[in-house]
C-alpha cells in the first residue's frame, strides 16, 4: 500500500528583485513511498530535498502537482484541515528544535495536548515513550542538560507521541558525532520495525542511506535524478550525482595519483574487480585465478554491506608468469566486471 505519494510536484519561489524569474526549488518530482518503508532522499545542500520533506506535511505548499499521505490529499487541503493531518505525521529535525522552556516530559506531551489527549492518558503515553527511547530518568530535566544524542531521542519521542503513521526526518543525524549518529539510526530502525512507522528521511550522507533505507531518491538541482532500491543504486548508479554519492560510501577503484603510488609498491598487474552479491561469484573469481597459477594479493578497496548484501570493489595485484596472468585475465573478463588498471 502506498503511504506517501508525491506526483509531479514543483515548488517555485518568486525571485528577488523586479523582473527576476522564479526560483525553482523543486522541479517536477515524483516519489512513491510504500507503507512500512524507509525512503531516503539524498542530495547536496540546495538540491531541494528539505523543501520536498516540508511539502509532505504541508509546512510549505506545492506550486503544482499532487501529494497524498494515506487518504489525505495534502495539496488540496486548507490550513485548518492540514493541522489535523499533521497530528498524524511526526517530524524530527537536524537541530532537534526542542522547546527549551519545557521539560523533556512536557516536550513530549506537547503534541498530545494539541491532539486533545486527556491528561491521564498523556502522562501514561509520555512514560511509555520515555522508556521506548531509553530516557526514563530524564522526564523532569530541561533540554539544555541533555547531550545531542539524548536531545534527538527526545525529538523522536515527541514526534512519535501521537502514534503517527509517517515520520519525516530532516537530517536527523547530521549534527551528531559518528557514534551518537549510529545510536540514533538504530533507534529509527526500531521505530520502523517495531512500530511499523513509514519513514521519509533526507540526508546528504550516503552512510545514512546505506544503513537505514530500503529505497532512495537522489536529488540534484530540484529534480529527482535517480530512484530505486538502495542496493541497486549502490551497485549500478546511473546519474553523475548518484555515482558521486556512492563513491563517498563504497570502496572504489584507486584514483590516478593513488594508482601510481600502488604501482610503485606492487610490480604485478593491477586489476579492479567489482564485487556484488547475486551479480558476481567471488569464489569463481578466486578459483579461476588459482587455476591459472596466479598469485593474488588485495592491495586496495574492500566490501560493504548494503541491505544485508555485500557490495564493493577490490584492486588485486596479479603476480606470476606473464602468459598465465594474461590467460587468467582473459578467462575472467567473460564472467565478471574485471578492469585492468594500466
Amino acid at each position: 500500500m502506498t503511504r506517501v505519494l508525491i506526483e509531479g510536484v514543483s515548488k517555485r519561489y518568486p525571485g528577488r528583485g523586479r523582473g527576476a524569474s522564479d526560483i525553482v526549488a523543486v522541479d517536477d518530482v515524483s516519489i512513491s513511498v510504500e507503507s512500512g518503508e524507509i525512503h531516503a532522499i539524498i542530495g547536496y545542500s540546495g538540491a531541494g530535498k528539505s523543501t520536498v520533506l516540508r511539502l509532505i506535511n504541508g509546512l510549505e505548499r506545492a506550486s503544482s502537482g499532487h501529494i497524498t499521505v494515506g487518504d489525505d490529499r495534502i495539496t488540496e487541503l486548507g490550513e485548518r484541515d492540514l493541522r489535523a493531518v499533521r497530528t498524524g505525521i511526526g517530524m524530527i529535525f537536524q537541530h532537534f528544535n526542542l522547546f527549551r522552556s519545557k521539560t523533556v516530559a512536557d516536550n513530549i506531551a506537547y503534541p498530545l495536548t494539541i491532539a486533545r489527549v486527556p491528561a491521564a492518558e498523556r502522562t501514561r503515553r509520555v512514560a511509555e515513550l520515555l522508556s521506548f527511547v531509553g530516557l526514563q530518568d530524564k522526564a523532569k530535566t530541561y533540554p539544555e542538560q541533555l547531550s545531542g544524542g539524548q536531545k534527538q531521542r527526545v525529538g523522536i519521542a515527541r514526534a512519535l507521541a501521537t502514534s503517527p503513521g509517517v515520520l519525516l526526518a530532516d537530517e536527523a543525524t547530521s549534527a551528531l558525532d559518528p557514534e551518537t549518529s549510529k545510536e540514533v539510526l538504530a533507534l529509527l530502525r526500531r521505530v520502523n520495525r517495531e512500530l511499523g512507522i513509514t519513514i521519509v528521511l533526507i540526508t546528504h550522507e550516503m552512510e545514512v542511506v546505506r544503513e537505514l533505507a530500503q529505497r532512495v531518491t537522489v536529488m540534484d538541482a530540484g529534480r529527482a535524478v535517480e530512484q530505486g532500491d538502495v542496493f541497486d543504486v549502490f551497485a549500478h548508479p546511473q546519474s553523475v550525482t548518484a555515482r558521486r554519492f556512492v563513491a563517498t560510501s563504497l570502496p572504489v577503484s584507486p584514483g590516478p595519483d593513488h594508482l601510481a603510488e600502488l604501482r610503485e609498491r606492487h610490480p604485478g598487474l593491477l586489476v579492479s574487480v567489482a564485487i556484488e552479491d547475486g551479480g558476481v561469484d567471488q569464489q569463481r573469481v578466486f578459483q579461476t585465478l588459482a587455476e591459472h597459477g596466479v598469485a593474488v594479493s588485495i592491495v586496495h578497496g574492500g566490501v560493504a554491506e548494503v541491505g544485508g548484501r555485500v557490495i564493493g570493489r577490490v584492486t588485486l595485484e596479479l603476480a606470476g608468469e606473464m602468459g598465465r596472468v594474461e590467460g587468467a585475465v582473459a578467462a575472467l573478463a567473460h564472467e565478471t566486471q574485471l578492469e585492468v588498471l594500466r
Binding site: 509546512l59 492540514l82 493541522r83 493531518v85 497530528t87 517530524m91 537541530h95 522552556s101 503534541p111
Partner: protein
C-alpha cells in the same frame, strides 16, 4: 531646614505617585505593547500569520509615535486625552500619555526579543498541528520569556525616566518634586532626595528583572 516631617510627607506622596504612574503605564502599555509586538512578529514576512498590510500599518504606527520626544507627545496628545480620560491635565491625562508612549516602546522591544526565538521551534510546533494562537501562547512567548522580562525591565526604567515630566501637565511624582521644590526653591536636599529615590526604584526593578530572567533562563 524645613520641618522634616513635612518634607518626608512630600517624598512619600511623590514616591507613591511615581509608582502609581509607572505601574499603570506598565500594566496598560505593557499589555498593548505585547499585543502589538506579537502582532508585528506574527505578521512579518515568514511569520506564522504573515500579512503584509497588517505588518506595514503596525510598523508605521510604531515608527510614527516612538521618535516623538515625550515632552512633545504629552502636549500633542492632550486632545486625545480629553476624549479618552475626560481631561487634558493632571494625573489621569498624564497616566494616559505615559501608557500611550509605553505601548509603542514596549511593542518594539517585544518584537525584537521575540525575534530571538529559534524559528525551528515554531516550525516544530507547526509540524505537530498547532494553530497560530496556540503557538503564540505556548511556544513563542514561553520560549522568549527570558529576553522579554529583560525587555520589560528596560521599559520600566524608561517609563520611570519619562514620569519625571509629569509636572508639565500638572501631575506630581518624584520628578515634579525635584523640579518644584528642589530646583525652583534652590533646595538641593529635595532634588537629590528625589534623585536617590528614583535610583532606588530603578535598582529594585532591575534586580527583580535580573532574578526573574535568570530563573526563567536557568542560567
Amino acid at each position: 531646614m524645613e520641618d522634616l516631617f513635612a518634607i518626608s510627607d512630600k517624598f512619600l506622596l511623590a514616591t507613591g505617585e511615581t509608582l502609581l504612574y509607572v505601574a499603570v503605564a506598565m500594566l496598560i502599555g505593557g499589555l498593548f505593547g505585547l499585543v502589538i509586538g506579537v502582532a508585528l512578529v506574527a505578521s512579518r514576512q515568514g511569520g506564522i500569520l504573515q500579512n503584509r498590510p497588517t505588518y506595514w500599518v503596525l510598523n508605521l504606527l510604531v515608527n510614527f509615535f516612538r521618535p516623538i520626544p515625550f515632552l512633545i507627545l504629552m502636549v500633542a496628545l492632550q486632545p486625545l486625552a480629553r476624549i479618552v480620560v475626560g481631561t487634558g491635565i493632571q494625573d489621569p491625562a498624564f497616566m494616559f500619555v505615559l501608557a500611550f508612549a509605553a505601548t509603542f516602546g514596549v511593542a518594539r522591544l517585544v518584537e525584537q526579543n521575540l525575534l530571538t526565538v529559534e524559528p525551528g521551534v515554531i516550525e516544530a510546533a507547526r509540524s505537530m498541528g498547532a494553530a497560530p494562537l496556540r503557538i503564540i501562547l505556548t511556544v513563542l512567548i514561553p520560549e522568549g520569556l527570558g529576553p522579554l522580562i529583560l525587555g520589560y525591565t528596560f521599559a520600566f526604567i524608561a517609563v520611570v525616566d519619562m514620569s519625571a515630566l509629569a509636572g508639565i501637565i500638572g501631575a506630581g511624582g518624584l520628578g515634579n518634586l525635584a523640579l518644584q521644590y528642589g530646583f525652583r526653591q534652590f533646595n538641593p536636599f529635595i532634588t537629590w532626595g528625589a534623585v536617590l529615590l528614583m535610583i532606588a526604584i530603578v535598582q529594585l526593578a532591575q534586580a527583580l528583572g535580573n532574578v526573574l530572567a535568570r530563573r526563567v533562563l536557568r542560567r
